[in-house]
Structure formats: C-alpha cells, structure tokens
C-alpha cells in the first residue's frame, strides 16, 4: 500500500514536533525514519498509525483519506518499542488478539484462529513458546511476538517504533538481519523509526532523515551517505571532517587563505566544508602549494589504520581534525602537512 503524508504539522504546546512534513512511501518498501530524539520521527509514525492526529495536513492510504479512520480500521500493524504485550495472556492469546477482536461477521472460527496463530508463530520461529507468558520471554523473543501479533491482522502497512531500541547490541544485530529477510518474504509496506544510523543504513530500502520536525533528506542508504543534501545529514550519518570556510572571489578560503578548492558558483559568504575522513589525503607539506596546511599533533592507532590528529590554522582559528593516514609514509608529531579533501561537500551557512 502507498502512503502519502501531505503537509502534516503537529504541535505539543510550544513544541513543534512536525512542521509541514511531506512524505510518500512506496508500496512494499522498507523505509527508515532516522533522526535524533525530538526530531518528530515517532510522532510521524504515530500519525500514520492513527495513534495521534496532526493539527494540519493529510494522510492518505492509496490515495484515500486515512485520518477519518480510527487506528483499528486502518489495517496497520504497530510494533511498540517496549513491545506492549498483554502480560496476562499467553503468547498464543497475544497473537490471537487481533483475530478475536474482529467484528463477529469477519471473525474466523477457533480452528482457523489456531491455524493462523501457529503459522505466525512459525514465521517468527517461536511456536514452542505458545503457552508461555510474556514475563517468561527474553527481550528479543518478546519483540518477535509483538511482530507476530501485529502481523495477525494481515496489515497493509507495518510500523515499528525503535524496534530494536531496548535490546542489547548482539541480539539487535541478529534481529536486524532477520527483519530484513522477513520483509523480503512477506513484502508488506513497512516503516521503522530509529536513531541508529547503522541500523537504518543496513536494513532500509530508503531512509528519511529528520531533524526538528523537518525532513532533511529522503534517499537510498547510498544516496544519503554519499550525497548528503544538507549539513545536518552529513554530520548525522557517518563520520565527518567539518571546516568553517569563507567563499570569496570564486575561491574557498580558510583562515583568510585560499585552500585550492573551487566553490562551483556558490555565492560569496560564510560556508562549511564537509568531507569524510577517508576522502581526505594527507601529504608532507611542500612550500608554495595553495592548499590546507596543518601540523600533526598526535598519532594513534595500531594495525591497519593510522589515525592522525591534525591542527589546522593559526592560534586564533585553529581546528583539530582526525584523518586516517597512509601507513606507507612515516609521520611524526610536529610535522607540517598538506590536507587535501578529494571528495567534499560545501554548504553555504544559513543565516
């Protein structure tokens, strides 16, 4: 099912959780909403689910208005961060809940309920726990049961709020891969919220990067990583070397000196240069070169990587960056070096 969020806004008192957000979710894709806490990603998910309503804007499922329908009528499977399993019911009854909640005319018979719940428990590979209570399960098992329960209503869209947020790192890695495979198997349109970029990059077909109630960028993991559209996205995803620069006379200057980078038609003014640490080359300094000059302050790292802390600029405008350097060269503390970003992004500073 295709989901369209159109100009959705939501305020809680003085706090703007969502500010005119537009989003199209394609049928069958696995989409990640990625952002720091307070960026509005969970609010957006809850609005799609029908657990919250926007102050303005629309939500459409396959072009039809969804806001007029309550949560129970949207055919939405919601998986909560803390599972929200019914603790007085067995695993079986938890998964069967959505089937038993159907109006009498659509409610399947007891044998059919049993068959479908068993099938779902097989899907999450936990059939042997059917008669246990949630308190007797591990965190990862509870999460899978919560997923089975959400799938029982044959949802047209599956929404997961920080699905792996309260699990330890090892379980999380395993479940991630499992979710990816499950999605490939059942192919239901899915949106999950996460603040963990690694999770989003590994699992999602597309990533929506959010900050302060805005969508900063929508794209494939490859696109948001390699071609970030805003400074926020560059900083939030992956490691960044960040340098405040100034654009003047068609030259990028740091500390008043040109650094050998062409601003490609950018207007004069303050700007910020972003690069990935591995896209920056360090060479021994040579006199007369018009590039960034720095001094090695510290060398650390053993094994394949050699990491240099380099101070750029003079006393007034100094800035320390960390760069992976080639091992084939000898480096020493106090050495003057040239810093050359091979790949970089230049963003004009917003006023």
């Amino acid at each position: 099912m295709r989901i369209s969020v159109i100009d959705a806004s939501k305020r809680f008192g003085d706090f703007t959780a969502l500010d005119r957000v537009n989003l199209d979710v394609r049928s069958g894709e696995l989409l990640a909403l990625l952002g720091p806490s307070g960026s509005g990603k969970t609010t957006l998910l809850r609005i799609v689910a029908g657990l919250d309503w926007p102050d303005d804007g629309q939500v459409q499922f396959d072009g039809e208005d969804a806001l007029s329908r309550p949560a129970g009528k949207r055919r939405v499977g919601f998986v909560f961060q803390h599972y929200a399993l019914f603790r007085h019911m067995t695993v079986f009854e938890n998964v069967a809940f959505g089937l038993r909640a159907k109006p009498r005319a659509e409610r399947p018979g007891e044998t059919e309920i049993r068959r479908r719940v068993d099938k779902l428990l097989d899907l999450v590979q936990l059939r042997w726990l059917a008669e246990r209570y949630p308190a007797q399960l591990s965190g990862g098992q509870r999460q899978r049961i919560a997923l089975a329960r959400a799938l029982a209503i044959e949802p047209k869209v599956l929404l997961l709020d920080e699905p792996f947020g309260s699990l330890d790192a090892k379980v999380r890695k395993g479940l991630r891969r499992w979710l990816r495979n499950l999605h490939r198997e059942i192919h239901v349109t899915s949106i999950f919220v996460t603040h963990d970029q690694e999770e989003a990059l590994e699992v999602a077909d597309r990533i929506v990067v959010m900050d302060k109630g805005h969508i900063e960028q929508i794209g494939t993991p490859q696109q948001v990583y390699s071609n970030p559209q805003t400074p926020f996205v560059h900083e939030f995803i992956g490691e960044s070397v960040v340098l405040p620069v100034f654009v003047q006379d068609n030259q990028v200057r740091f500390d008043g000196r040109p650094i050998g980078i062409v601003p490609k038609g950018m207007a004069d003014g303050a700007a910020t240069l972003f690069a990935r640490p591995f896209d920056v080359t360090i060479l021994p300094a040579r006199a007369g070169d018009a590039d960034l000059k720095g001094v090695v302050k510290r060398i650390h790292g053993i094994g394949p990587a050699r990491r240099l802390e380099i101070e750029i600029g003079n006393e007034q405008a100094s800035r320390t960056i960390e760069i992976d350097a080639s091992r084939s060269r000898q480096w020493h503390v106090g050495q003057a070096v040239s810093v050359r970003p091979e790949q970089y992004h230049l963003f004009p500073d917003r006023l």
């Binding site: 029908g50 657990l51 129970g72 909560f80 803390h82 019914f86 007085h88 209570y133 959400a150």
Partner: protein, 270 residues
C-alpha cells in the same frame, strides 16, 4: 544472608505476638470456658444469627458497591485532567481521616427523617436512618477510600501503549477495557475489595449511631459483643467474637487465594 536476620525476626515475632496473636489466643481461651453445647446455643441463637447475617451480608454488599463506584472514581481521577481534580482526590481520604463517631453522627443527621437527605426520602417511604439501609450507607462511606487508594497506583502504572496496541489491533474501547485494562488491575481491585470488606465487618463507631440498634432488625455483631460485655456475659461475647474471627479469616483466605490465582499470570515484565 543479610546480617540482622535474628534480631529483626525476633522483634517481628515478639511484636506480632503481643499485638495480634496473644489477644486472639485469649479470645479462644475465654470461649473455651463454654461447653460445646453452650457454644452452639449461643452462636445459633436467633439474635446472634441475625447479627452475623447483618454484619457479613451488609459488609459484602457495601464492598461490592464500593468496588464498582470506587473503580469509576479511580478512572475519573487517573484518566482525566479537570479543575478540582486534586481537591476531589483529597476528599477521597476523608472517611480515612474522620473519627468514625463523627462520621456516624454526620450521617445520622443527614439521613434521619428530619435531615436533609432523610427528609427528601421519607415521603417516598424510604427510611435510611435506624434501619439496615442506614448501616449499609455507613459501611459504603467508610469503605470507599480502601478501593480507591489500592486501585489508583495500579491504574496509574498501566502503560498507555497497551491500550494503543489493542486499538491498533482493531479492538473497540469496550473490548480494550474488558480484555486489557481490567485484567491488569484485577489484583488491585480484589485487594481493595478485601480491605473494604474487612473494615466494614469490624466497623462499629459510625454504624451504632445510624443503626438504631434494634435486636433482630438493625443490630450488628460487634454491637452484640459490646452488649454482652456490658451484661458481664464475657463467655457469650467471646463466643460471638470467635465466630466473627473465623468467618473473617475464611473470607480473607478465599480472596487471597483468588488474588494469588490471578497474580500468577500477571507477574512482572511487560
């Protein structure tokens, strides 16, 4: 083991013995002065049986009413934000704080045929003060905070996500309350019910003012004990007391068992 076990257990046993066990033992010793036939004759006399039926029957009825209305009060206090909520919340404690005699006098003044409420009911032929109905009113009054105060924390702790989960799975409001909210607070409801019931069975102060205390009509068992004591018939008094004690214990065990049974499936964890 944590140090101090011997000391604290010793103190606990001594204290419980002094406060609870020895007085109860004395009660049994006192009633043992009676022969079995005498004992049975006393506790099955018409007056005693009527007092038992009145005390336990009305206490049970009052606890049931408090269970229902207490639950509604808790729901309103916990789930809605409205001006005056904190004041209402404080008012719930009044029956706790009020000396029972004061409550009894106030209720009697209100429900007597000349009182504000009694005056309205009298023309309809409903007499509250000086009838079993009056006792019932007093028992409802003193029992309410027990239900409210035990259920309140349980409902406050109830995760809103549970109800959202039920709603997104297609359950209507009714089904959500019946299958998700209620089962989670049932142990607390049972505890509140038990406390309200136990308190009502033992209630004396507020009841004697409004009851009218007519033998075989509106005389409660605790009052009968007091009357027997004033007649210096100590053995009679203790025989009635023993029956009350046994019946109360039986009820407590039954409800405790029920509580354990429900708690078994709802222990810890989300």
């Amino acid at each position: 083991m944590l140090p101090g076990f011997g000391l604290t257990l010793g103190t606990t046993l001594l204290w419980l013995s002094l406060i609870v066990l020895i007085p109860l033992g004395a009660l049994f010793v006192k009633s043992a002065a009676l022969s079995a036939d005498q004992f049975i004759a006393i506790v099955t006399s018409r007056r005693a049986l009527h007092a038992f039926a009145l005390s336990f029957g009305l206490s049970l009825a009052a606890a049931c009413v408090n269970l229902v209305f207490g639950a509604i009060v808790v729901w309103a206090l916990v789930r809605y934000r409205f001006p005056g909520r904190r004041l209402l919340d404080a008012i719930v404690d009044v029956p706790f704080a009020l000396p029972t005699a004061v409550a009894g006098i106030a209720l009697t003044a209100l429900y007597a045929p000349s009182g504000w409420i009694g005056g309205l009911l009298a023309p309809l032929g409903i007499h509250v003060a000086f009838t079993p109905l009056g006792i019932f009113v007093a028992l409802v009054f003193i029992g309410l905070p027990f239900v409210v105060r035990t259920v309140q924390p349980a409902l406050e702790d109830l995760d809103a996500e549970l109800e959202e989960a039920a709603a997104s799975l297609g359950a209507g409001r009714c089904m959500t309350v019946r299958r998700v909210v209620l089962p989670t607070v049932v142990p607390a409801l049972l505890t509140g019910f038990t406390l309200a019931f136990a308190r009502a069975v033992g209630e004396y102060g507020s009841v004697v003012f409004i009851a009218g205390n007519l033998p075989n009509v509106s005389e409660i068992a605790p009052l009968l004990i007091v009357i027997r004591l004033q007649e210096f018939r100590y053995a009679d008094a203790s025989a009635i007391a023993v029956v009350m004690l046994m019946a109360s214990l039986l009820f407590l065990f039954l409800i405790n068992g029920l509580q354990r049974w429900t708690a078994l499936h709802t222990e810890s964890g989300r």
